[in-house]
Amino acid sequence: MNRPDGSKDGGAAMTEDDARRVLLVRAIEEEDAAGDLLTKQDRVAAHEAGRAALSGAGAKTGRKGDDLFLARRAEFAAGRLASRVPAIATALRATRWPRWIGWAVPLGAFLIGLTLNELASGRRLDLLAFPLIGMLAWNALVYFWMLVTLVPRSSKGGPGGLSRVLERLARLGQRGFDRATPVSRALGRFATDWSAASASLAAARSARILHLSAATFALGVVAGIYFRALGIEYRAGWESTFLGPESVHAAISLVLGPAAAVTGLVIPDVAGIAAMRWTGADSGLDSGGVNAGPWIILTTATVIGFVVIPRLVLALLAAVKTWRRRDSFTLPERDGFYFRRLLRGAHGRAGQVRVTPYAYHPDAGVREVLSALTQDALGDGTALQFDPPVDYGAEDDWLAAAEFDADDDHHLLLFTISSTPEHENHGAIASGLRDALAVKHPGTLVGAIIDESPFRERFGDNSASSARLATRGEAWDAVMGRAELASLRLDLAASDPEKAQLMEDLVTGKRHPRVIP
């Protein structure tokens, strides 16, 4: 398969581009519950594409395999989506990190550094003044700050102010979308998801660029000095209101000492420093100072040693971090329902749901709708198995004889709202099943569905029958609540996204039994 980021299937499973597509497809699938954009057929095909990658050469297992499945599935789905909806292709492009920032910002910094001397004070190389001392001080402050923040590694904090600006730059291509359509909702959600998920990667990238820019800026400043020094004679000197030659000597020895040691140049003694003081009331050009040549070398060596080299090392570290994060992306909410649902079928074992109708013989239509809803809620490969209906009153025998499969992810009881719920029967099978599975297979989630379709079909849809349905529903809630079983009343005559949502709540255990004391 042609992959735009050039990474190979053999590498780590989830790259940045993979993750971007996964999150995009997730946003689409969750906002487009009706399957208008990504149809059921597409989802099945995407599922197959993911599985094909898994079963290919060098098949992976465990989390890496899961990631590979998610990545290839999303790649397939995103391909279909992007070819259908231009806005989706645009969104995928617009959320990519713009590479030009990586070289444009450092280049800009170099140019700024280069031109800085032009704005400075004529021919003087002022030993105590900006930009040299200022730049060194600024970098010292940055190193100190990094040292301080290194200790409690706060990885949770989002990107800093500057990197946020960069991120915004990266999202320049995004337009405001009309929130009314599923596509626009999905893209809005994707933008939010993506900026949160890629925050740490963006932070690493920003760090790399900023360190590099600091180095090029320093180089620019130094280069600027050399450049000008070719054509004019710099005079090195100092002046101060408060400091005497002793203090200045001490300061210069501290700052330029290491450079002097490396280059073999000698820093003058106190008398020599005193001689370099600018003299004269108006600080005329030739009224003090010495030829700046050795000082420029000393300064350059200092800048390279204190700024350029450390910054380049830091930039390299950030780059390594960037590459690592880019090629092995950590998905947010990786253990959330959406991914678990997708992964259930990834390794060949789809979700398994067992349905036991009680005092109800659901017809083929009802079975079909329930099956569709379950697949919407649990994933496309979910298998639904219907038990033969349990007769009214036969709950004790059934519970005694029933064999439960540890592989059942869910066990649902199916009732009809046409029956009057009785604590001794409908309630008994509910609490009995709940208790039995809690002991035998605590991994199986138990719930009850009360089908409203037979009632609606018979009594029609009007205010009077609705009121009656509501009363009957309350009776059911009371009986199921007393049995402490999560229950859901649904009209199983037709499937719709809203019902799938409710169903999802039920089968994921988000719906709690209404316990009635």
Partner: protein
């Protein structure tokens, strides 16, 4: 039960069923009184109570409302273990509150065994017979009791043209149960008196021979009461119709030719004087509809809370007719809807706004457009022109009167809890067919109205109304022929 010294014979019908099948609601409907407690939940009724359904001298037909069966499967398991199941059951001591299902079942069995001549076993027809397996279990219990059983299908939903399928479904399900002597639809919310008559006819042959005489007398009494009510209903409607047929209003200061001309041409361009006359006519029609509906409600023992519901339903009925705005039906639908909506509002306001603008507005609204020419005839009066209802309009008025009768007669007593919406469409078709069949007579009566007063005309209308009413009931419920041919 120890025999007291009584002269009369009591025939006892016990309503038995699984819990919450609607026994109390049906008892209320059959008795025409709000007895017991009604709620959509299991085990609401906890003691059996008897009510007099019909009385003939010292003889009475009693209806027993019992607590429903519950937890039947477990109960039956235990019953099967005992050599004398019913004896065992009746000697058990269950706690009325903690073991409610068992206590209720015991009360039901006690009542059936000690009181019942015939057991009316009620099923919730909304359930699938195959899934409602408690029915078979409870039939086992009833078999031990050994009394004849009639299956009543409750919760049928809105009245339907054909209920045989439903009856067959249940009868097939219960197979060859010797004790089930028959099955009848009997929806507590939408049954009519002729269905009750069919029930009594089915009960009679199941009674012990010594009670046959009393039953015949009671049946006769029941028929007298119901036929009298039917006739009185038709008379009440006929009187209102006679008023409408003879009603006329003169239009001030115009020649009838001008009026007729403009009405036929545009339908809307009537002069204020004509409109005023029509308003007066419509007001009187609304008042007549109001009082005749009230009379029907009184006759059927539905006054009070129920009467408002009846009116609302009739109004809803006509509104549904309005959806097919074609010909006279649409015209009449709009008219009656306006009238009845006004009546309902009037009733809500304690009867103080009779004849208010709302009613009249509704009627005149319906008479807009082509309806005007159809609904109202202009005639030459002694001094200028006169408006009166047209032939077509009158025939439609007859039809809606019959519909109103059906609505009231089917109205059950479960309304406190719920009610259906509109009436079934097939009623409208049947009514239209019956009116069409008698159209000549109706037109003749309407022509007679030009020279008769309402009193003279009412007798003739009453006759044709009875014929049509009886015809309609027989069309809908063929078994009614037996009663109505009397």
């Amino acid at each position: 039960m120890t025999e007291l010294h009584t002269e009369g014979t009591a025939i006892n019908l016990s309503l038995i069923s699984h819990t919450n099948a609607g026994k109390t609601t049906l008892a209320r409907t059959l008795l025409g009184r709000d007895v017991g407690e009604v709620r959509d939940a299991a085990h609401v009724t906890d003691l059996a109570s008897g009510y007099v359904l019909v009385q003939s001298g010292a003889d009475t037909l009693m209806l027993w409302d019992t607590p429903g069966f519950g937890d039947t499967a477990r109960l039956l398991d235990r019953l099967r273990l005992s050599g004398n199941p019913i004896g065992w059951m009746l000697t058990q001591v269950w706690d009325r509150f903690r073991e409610r299902p068992l206590w209720s079942s015991q009360q039901a069995v006690k009542n059936a065994r000690e009181q019942a001549d015939v057991i009316l076993y009620l099923v919730n027809a909304a359930e699938d017979p195959a899934a409602a397996s408690y029915v078979a279990l409870e039939m086992d219990v009833l078999e031990w009791i050994g009394k004849p059983v009639l299956l009543l299908l409750n919760q049928m939903g809105p009245p339907r043209e054909d209920t045989t399928d439903e009856i067959m479904r249940w009868q097939n399900h219960l197979g060859e149960r010797g004790i089930v002597a028959g099955a009848l639809p009997m929806d507590a919310f939408a049954r009519v008196w002729v269905q009750e008559g069919a029930l009594l006819d089915t009960v009679a042959p199941l009674l012990p021979p010594e009670k046959a005489g009393a039953m015949a007398a009671l049946k006769a009494e029941w028929e007298d009461i119901n036929l009298a009510r039917f006739r009185a209903s038709m008379t009440a409607l006929a009187e209102a119709l006679a008023q409408a047929a003879t009603d006329r209003e003169s239009v001030r200061g115009s020649t009838w030719r001008d009026e007729l001309g403009s009405a036929l041409r545009a339908g809307r361009g009537e002069r204020p004087e004509t409109r005023e006359a029509m308003t007066k006519l419509a007001e009187r029609l609304a008042a007549g509809t109001h009082s005749s509906t009230d009379a029907l409600i009184q006759l059927h023992g539905l006054s009070g809370k129920a009467s408002r519901k009846v009116l609302e339903r009739i109004a809803a009925d006509y509104r549904s007719e309005e959806k097919t705005p074609e010909g006279a039906a649409a015209l009449l639908g709009g008219l009656a809807s306006g009238a009845v909506t006004g009546l309902a509002a009037d009733l809500a306001a304690g009867g103080l706004t009779l004849g208010g603008g709302m009613i009249v507005g509704g009627i005149l609204g319906a008479l807009g457009g082509g309806g005007l020419a159809r609904g109202i005839n202009m005639a030459k009066g002694e001094d200028g022109s006169v408006v009166r209802w047209s032939d077509d309009f009158f025939a439609d008025l007859v039809g809606t009167s019959l519909l109103r009768y059906l609505a009231v007669a089917h109205f059950g007593r479960g309304r406190g809890e719920w009610e259906e919406g509109e009436h079934p469409a097939f009623w409208h078709d049947r009514v239209r067919a019956v009116v069409e069949k008698h159209r000549e007579t109706i037109d003749r009566l309407h022509r007679d109205a030009r020279r008769m007063d309402a009193g003279e005309l009412a007798g003739g209308i009453d006759d044709v109304m009875r014929q049509m009413g009886a015809q309609l009931l027989i069309d809908l419920y063929p078994k009614a022929a037996q009663v109505l041919s009397r």
